[in-house]
Amino acid sequence: MTTKNFLFVNRKAPYGTVYALESLEVVLISAAFEQNVSLAFIDDGVYQITKGQNSKGIGMKNFSPTFRALGDYDITKLYVSSESLAERGLTVDDLMELTYEDADDDYAEKPSIILVDAKGMAAMMAEQEVILSF
């Protein structure tokens, strides 16, 4: 099978609509087909990977723990918009600690989150072959 660079762009808050959850499902399916998958979190999408989510009051499943499994699926590049974080008064410390084990470096645990500005985000997008926006 041909391997392509897939980017999933997440722009919406985790709850209230089904976009975030559906995106994550497609991400996991793409990775199961051994594609080279990266994720981007822009606008309210940055809320999807914030720490300490509790969805009990709205009767939806808190699916944020699933982001911590992405490393197992060899999804190791999560690009987060630094402007979107700043606009919401957030810093990288408000995000979950998402890591992967680098098989090429004796399985050392490394951070998956990559903070980028708009220019860096554009450059990264230019390298993708398939971009899906949620």
């Binding site: 699933t66 197992d72 699926y73």
Partner: protein, 111 residues
Amino acid sequence: MASLNIGGKDIALDEEGYLENLNDWTPEVAEALATAEDVTLTSEHWEILNFLREYYEEYQIAPAVRVLTKAVGKRLGADKGNSKYLYSLFPYGPGKQACKYGGLPKPTGCV
């Protein structure tokens, strides 16, 4: 809708035999689902079922078979973290069959 009767309680199953309600799961349910497919659960099976249940508890997903194989190898040793071993326990596919007995949803990405 299919169902399973355990100790007088009806447990709803979906069209592929997975639990409709994940909270219905008990070890007896696992035994009954396995028996229905002519499988006798051994301690080796249980090791994988327990592992899957812990994985689901932690990550809220049933792992794809590739991920399961890798994770089992890390946790239980390389002699168990390979397709041959897992298929010897779960010949219909370790992802599908073990998730079913373990009371997990069908793995994401599993067709």
